[in-house]
């Protein structure tokens, strides 16, 4: 049993905008590339050119179809990685203390040298956000690019997680949720950001911005219809209208 800090100075995390994510997987592969080269063991791939390729990823995008009561079905792209929960069950379940939540910024990390690969944390995580690397036998998870965000070898503007830096649609935002003035706090407030499965009591730091209502245009036809009133009733009258209108130009 590993203890969580009573509180953290900052609460670093992500806002993921489900209204904007086009499901392109840019974040997935950028994460794979950075974290293969950086913190901890590389992210391995088993059977990479064979029948059942299966590798370690710290971030994946799932797609779900939603059928609203009215109107057409919708497709939601849902990127998922560790939510760096304030009440992280993956930490408290760890028998060796390898899983921990940092006191200074709330990032949940695995100390790979203490990890015995027992998998209890992956079992305890309700979000499926941890993956056991099959080559190394250690648990891998999102580090929020802890080796980027403070990295003095990177230009200041690049001190963000790899997934945020690469996201083409700008659907991923990084910041400090402990600061109500931060970009992520403001976005969450403005767009009604939500916790993932709040009923579990994990208090995730990462927030999701819900998709805006879709397929609303037809409902505005009362406003739009007057714009489409014909200028003349008969097609033959159109050239008369044209002449009158040109006279006013």
């Amino acid at each position: 049993m590993t203890e969580l800090p009573a509180s953290t100075t900052r609460k670093m995390g992500l806002v993921i905008d489900l209204d904007t994510c086009v499901g392109c997987h840019a974040c997935v592969i950028s994460c794979k590339g950075w974290n293969t080269e950086n913190y901890g063991a590389p992210l391995s791939d088993q059977d990479p050119y064979g029948a059942d390729p299966s590798g370690t990823f710290l971030n994946r995008v799932h797609s779900y179809e939603v059928q609203p009561d009215q109107g057409a079905a919708q497709l939601i792209h849902f990127p998922k990685s560790c939510l760096h929960c304030e009440d992280a069950p993956c930490v408290t379940v760890c028998p060796t203390g390898a899983s921990y939540k940092r006191t200074e910024d709330g990032i949940v990390l695995v100390n790979e040298s203490d990890c015995i690969g027992c998998g209890l944390c992956a079992w305890a995580c309700p979000y499926g956000a941890r993956e056991l690397d099959q080559a190394e036998g250690v648990m891998k998870k999102c580090t929020l690019c802890v080796d980027r965000i403070y990295n003095e070898n990177l230009p200041e503007e690049d001190r963000v997680p790899a997934c945020v830096r690469t996201c083409p649609a700008g659907a991923r935002h990084f910041g400090d949720f402990a600061d109500p003035e931060s970009n992520v706090s403001q976005l969450t407030a403005a767009r009604g950001g939500i916790d993932l499965m709040p009923e579990l009591g994990t208090r995730p730091v990462n927030k999701y911005l819900p998709p805006r209502p879709k397929d609303q245009l037809e409902g505005q036809i009362d406003i739009l219809a007057p714009l489409l009133a014909p200028v003349v009733e008969e097609p033959t009258g159109f050239l008369g209208w044209l002449d009158r209108t040109l006279g006013r130009l």
């Binding site: 203890e3 905008d17 209204d19 086009v22 499901g23 392109c24 997987h25 840019a26 997935v28 592969i29 950028s30 794979k32 590339g33 080269e37 590389p42 391995s44 791939d45 088993q46 990479p48 050119y49 064979g50 029948a51 059942d52 390729p53 590798g55 797609s63 059928q67 057409a72 079905a73 919708q74 497709l75 792209h77 921990y100 802890v146 080796d147 990295n151 003095e152 070898n153 503007e157 790899a162 690469t166 083409p168 649609a169 805006r212 879709k214 397929d215 245009l217 037809e218 036809i221 739009l224 219809a225 714009l227 489409l228 014909p230 097609p235 159109f238 050239l239 044209l242 040109l246 130009l249």
Partner: protein, 937 residues
């Protein structure tokens, strides 16, 4: 609490090398992080004009492409039968000797016996130059089976189209409509643009039978029935025109709406423009009521006036448009059923367009002077923009549909204005400013001019003296007169049939023609291996260059192995398909950030040497020695015109130019590019950034930059007169006459104003539309060899709408037989609700031939993956008129992939997808069982 101490500032890499991505055709700038001389990590280049730092999944996975086991290792000579994949490695010297031995006699006797087609080539201005120097008329790249309808319709209509030609004004647009987009075209810029629009709450409307990707985030999704986009667009035109929601001032000033058209059906010039002695189209001046050439200083063209002269009535184009588009056949109620969109929804979309274009019009305080000498204090903006690609163009009505979309934008006055669609240099550029096609063949001599171009009437067609097509692909023939990108998809079948003639050597680059890049894939494999009575191959010799062990490798006799994109020089040239933005001209390079660890060479460098071995004049010095040592040498030292070369940056100021685009050769040019991050930009002055076709400050800037040789102001062509010239010929006018069987079709379909005709009614035995898309994380067949990307998209079920799933008793994981008029496949299915109810689809090019791409034979791509290509033939079934018409657009010849209709039925699960092909031998073996990749360790 004790926390481990971790290093939060580790060294990132030894060095960053900045070059250009080639994981798809977007050409983003990348930072390649190097460790111990190896590629360690790839990220987007923040300074780059295309991607501004972001990078897609493909780009970030480039490292796995560079390390892919499928990379070819050395030149190969076929030793088994074609298609077997049995090769022996040979030296480059032997390979080039073989190639020279085949090609030199062809050049000396009849250069047309070489067909050189270059697939997804990003060096077309170079490869076409080589082919021109060789002297064959038979050259093109892959545009004919990609999106030539969009490009050609755009250039004839307004001097540019989408993607490389232009982009929405993301900063100002408030309503964005996407039609049938291919999500790997301009992909990062579109995603970035969508993100900007979302951030400011602009509305995005997606018109696409399938609600994935961009359409999934669109505020409104119009799940249109495939092939009916043109009808939907013309219905929008009908509603907007009827409501007067069109920009009459813009139409009068900047388009040919006021140009007078001969309306006498008895005249040999019926439908042609009234012109003055200099050939300039004439309009009526509103101030004087007199005729005037369209560009006269101070002119106010009249949209409404008509003229009767010598008994012939001339009416303005705008009158003809009113006659056509106000007709009830385009009313929403009339088109709703065919489009699969309710009339109310069509009106709602039209209403929103009208609201934003007119009620939210705005002005930017930018003063500018137009080509008639009038100075405008401000620039009027209309914040509606459009984007589209292959979805609407890959139909046999695609040219006219793309025209309709461009005409809609122009009627709204939203092209080249703030908030609308903006061109990217070297566009705008009207069709007249492009070359015409050339097919003048002489033994031992270069071709008499560039292969591809824009025709303006029957006189420009590429025909032999006997009237037969001069090109093997029949481009620029009566079957498809405006085939500006050629017809790569017809080359193999025509060469096999000896129609219009036989060839000797087929030379291909980067085109997987024996698999996902051909219609009728099974048939093409047979054509490539077919032998005559004497046991000779019907297509005698095939040379192929590719970097990877693609399916096509097995079908060639000689393989010239290319490098990966990080091991080569390239130029992304303004002479070719540039990377400019609306505010800047830009070009870029690739350079070898790593050296190949195999015996491979960049294909363009190989052409430099092969050109010299063949004594091609443009590739040989006077003393017979090789002129360009390699492609880098060509990029720096070649000049297409004085002061204009493949790269516009860092040219030497002097007699031929200021060095800002134009100028002399600079031997240090590539070093300058590398020092600048691999690219060059020249910004357009702010007051030149809109209204570019008519803005004299822009025109002068374009001349200085080397984009034009003189200012080229022109009118947008709502009415495309060259189309009318072909119709006139079909009506019997003029010397060059089409074959009789084509007259009716030319008359109906080469209409100078956009029309819609039905090419894909899903009825009778084939009631379901079938489409493909490419996933955003995979480009054509390249992605499947990539260990990271194939974990995202290793499987491609047939996505079936809920209604059809129920109708056929299907559940996820079941298998279905999918039958078209041409063939049948048996494939796994999966339900999708967010889909047009009569459309099935799958991801393109996931399916693989066993043995290709260094995948193991039981890879899911080979056992459960499939291609719809097997269901699509180059020719349509006979329709009772004795003809088998090409499955192509009648204007451009674009492959009509998306006209496919099928029926589906549930079948017992087979052991693998059908048809199943025997494995081909892999010339590169297979990949490792585990990857534990880390550079510098």
């Amino acid at each position: 609490m004790n926390q481990p101490r971790i290093d939060t500032s580790p060294k990132v890499s030894d060095e960053i090398r900045k070059t250009t991505c080639y994981m798809c055709a977007c050409r983003c700038g990348i930072n390649v992080h190097m460790k111990d001389g190896k590629v360690a990590y790839i990220e987007g280049n923040r300074d780059h004009p295309v991607n501004k730092g972001v990078l897609c999944a493909k780009g970030s996975a480039g490292i796995m492409q560079v390390n892919a086991p499928s990379r070819l290792r050395a030149p190969l000579k076929r030793v088994g039968p074609r298609g077997s994949g049995q090769f022996e490695e040979i030296s480059w010297d032997e390979a080039l000797e073989i190639a020279t031995g085949w090609l030199a006699p062809i050049r000396a006797t009849n250069p047309e016996k070489l067909a050189f087609f270059t697939g997804r080539d990003q060096s077309q201005s170079f490869t076409s130059y080589w082919a021109q120097s060789f002297g064959t008329p038979n050259y093109a790249a892959h545009g004919g089976f990609c999106s030539v309808n969009m490009a050609t319709a755009g250039i004839y209509t307004m001097g540019g189209a989408f993607w490389e030609f232009g982009q929405p004004d993301w900063e100002h647009t408030k309503l964005f409509l996407l039609f049938g987009v291919a999500e790997d075209h301009d992909s990062n810029p579109i995603k970035m643009g969508l993100g900007k629009l979302k951030a400011k709450g602009a509305r995005v409307i997606g018109i696409n039978p399938i609600r994935t990707g961009y359409n999934a985030v669109a505020d409104d999704w119009i799940g249109i029935t495939p092939g009916s986009d043109g009808l939907f667009i013309l219905s929008l035109v009908h509603v907007l025109m009827k409501a007067g929601k069109i920009d009459l001032d813009y139409l009068a000033r900047y388009t040919n709406a006021p140009v007078l058209v001969n309306c006498d059906p008895a005249s040999a010039e019926h439908g042609l423009f009234l012109r003055d002695g200099d050939g300039k189209p004439l309009v009526i001046d509103r101030d004087t009521g007199q005729l005037a050439p369209f560009d006269r200083k101070g002119l106010r063209p009249d949209l409404g006036g008509t003229l009767t002269r010598d008994g012939i009535t001339h009416r303005p184009v705008f009158h003809l448009m009113a006659d056509r588009y106000l007709a009830p056949e385009y009313a929403p109620e009339a088109v709703a059923e065919r489009c699969g969109i309710t009339a109310a929804r069509i009106r709602a979309v039209a209403g929103e367009i009208a609201r934003v274009a007119f009620d939210e019009a705005f002005e930017l305080p930018l003063e500018w002077t137009d080509f008639r000498g009038e100075t405008h204090k401000t620039m009027k903006g209309r914040p509606v923009s459009f984007h589209s690609m292959r979805g609407i163009s890959a139909h046999a009505n695609g040219f006219q549909t793309c025209r309709a979309l461009h005409v809609l934008q122009i009627l709204l006055g939203t092209v080249e204005v703030p908030g609308g669609f903006r061109f990217k240099p070297p566009y705008p550029k009207p069709a007249e400013a492009h070359p015409k096609p050339h097919v003048g063949v002489n033994p031992g001599q270069p071709l008499n001019g560039p292969h591809l171009g824009f025709v303006h009437g029957p006189a420009d067609l590429a025909l032999k003296d006997d009237g037969s097509p001069a090109r093997i692909d029949k481009a620029f023939s009566w079957e498809n007169p405006m085939s500006s990108h050629g017809l790569m998809h017809m080359v193999i079948s025509n060469a096999h049939a000896g129609d219009p003639y036989r060839i000797d050597t087929l030379f291909l680059y980067m085109a997987n023609m024996s698999w996902n890049s051909s219609m009728n894939t099974s048939g093409v494999m047979k054509m490539l291996t077919d032998q005559d009575a004497e046991g000779n191959y019907v297509i005698p010799r095939i040379i192929y260059s590719d970097a990877y062990s693609s399916e096509m490798v097995a079908y060639a006799d000689l393989i010239l192995p290319d490098t990966t994109y990080l091991e080569r020089h390239d130029c992304i040239s303004l002479l070719d398909r540039p990377i400019s933005e609306a505010d800047a001209a830009a070009d870029a390079i690739r350079w070898p950030v790593i050296e190949p660890d195999r015996d491979v060479r960049g294909f363009q460098s190989v052409l430099c040497e092969l050109g010299a071995r063949l004594n091609l004049p443009q590739f040989t010095n006077a003393d017979g020695s090789q002129k360009f040592a390699d492609y880098a040498d060509y990029i720096v030292n070649h000049e297409r015109r004085p002061g204009v070369g493949p790269l516009s940056g860092w040219r030497t100021p002097g007699e031929t130019g200021s060095g800002k685009g134009r100028g002399g050769v600079n031997p240090d040019q590539l070093d300058e590019y590398i020092a600048n991050g691999g690219f060059w930009t020249r910004h357009i002055p702010e007051a030149s950034g809109y209204y570019k076709p008519w803005n004299m400050a822009y025109q002068d800037w374009a001349v200085e930059t080397g984009l034009y040789d003189k200012p080229l102001p022109y009118l947008f062509q709502l009415y495309v007169e060259p189309l009318r010239r072909f119709q006139l010929a079909a009506e019997g006018h003029g010397e060059r006459q089409p074959p009789d069987h084509l007259r009716a079709r030319i008359g109906e379909q080469l209409d100078p104003l956009p029309i819609w005709y039905d090419t894909a009614p899903a009825t009778g035995d084939f009631p379901v539309h079938a489409l493909t898309q490419r996933p955003m994380a995979m480009y054509h067949s390249w992605g499947s060899q990539n260990a990271w990307l194939r974990q995202l998209h290793g499987r491609n079920p047939l996505y079936v709408p809920s209604k059809l799933m129920r109708q056929h008793g299907l559940s996820d994981g079941d298998w279905a037989r999918v039958t078209s008029p041409h063939g049948a496949i048996v494939v796994p299915v999966m339900e999708m609700a967010a889909l047009n109810e009569n459309t099935v689809w799958t991801w393109n090019a996931i399916g693989k031939r066993k043995g290709a791409w260094a995948l193991e034979p039981d890879a899911p791509e080979a056992t459960r993956g499939f291609l719809l290509n097997h269901l699509i033939h180059e020719l349509l079934p006979e329709k009772g008129d004795g003809q088998r018409w090409a499955n192509s657009d009648p204007v451009t010849g674009q492959a009509a992939w998306f006209d496919l209709r099928v029926r589906i039925e549930k079948v017992a699960a087979p052991s693998e997808s059908q048809p199943a092909w025997p494995p081909i031998a892999s010339p590169v073996g297979q990949g490792p069982k585990e990857l534990k990749w880390e550079s510098g360790k």
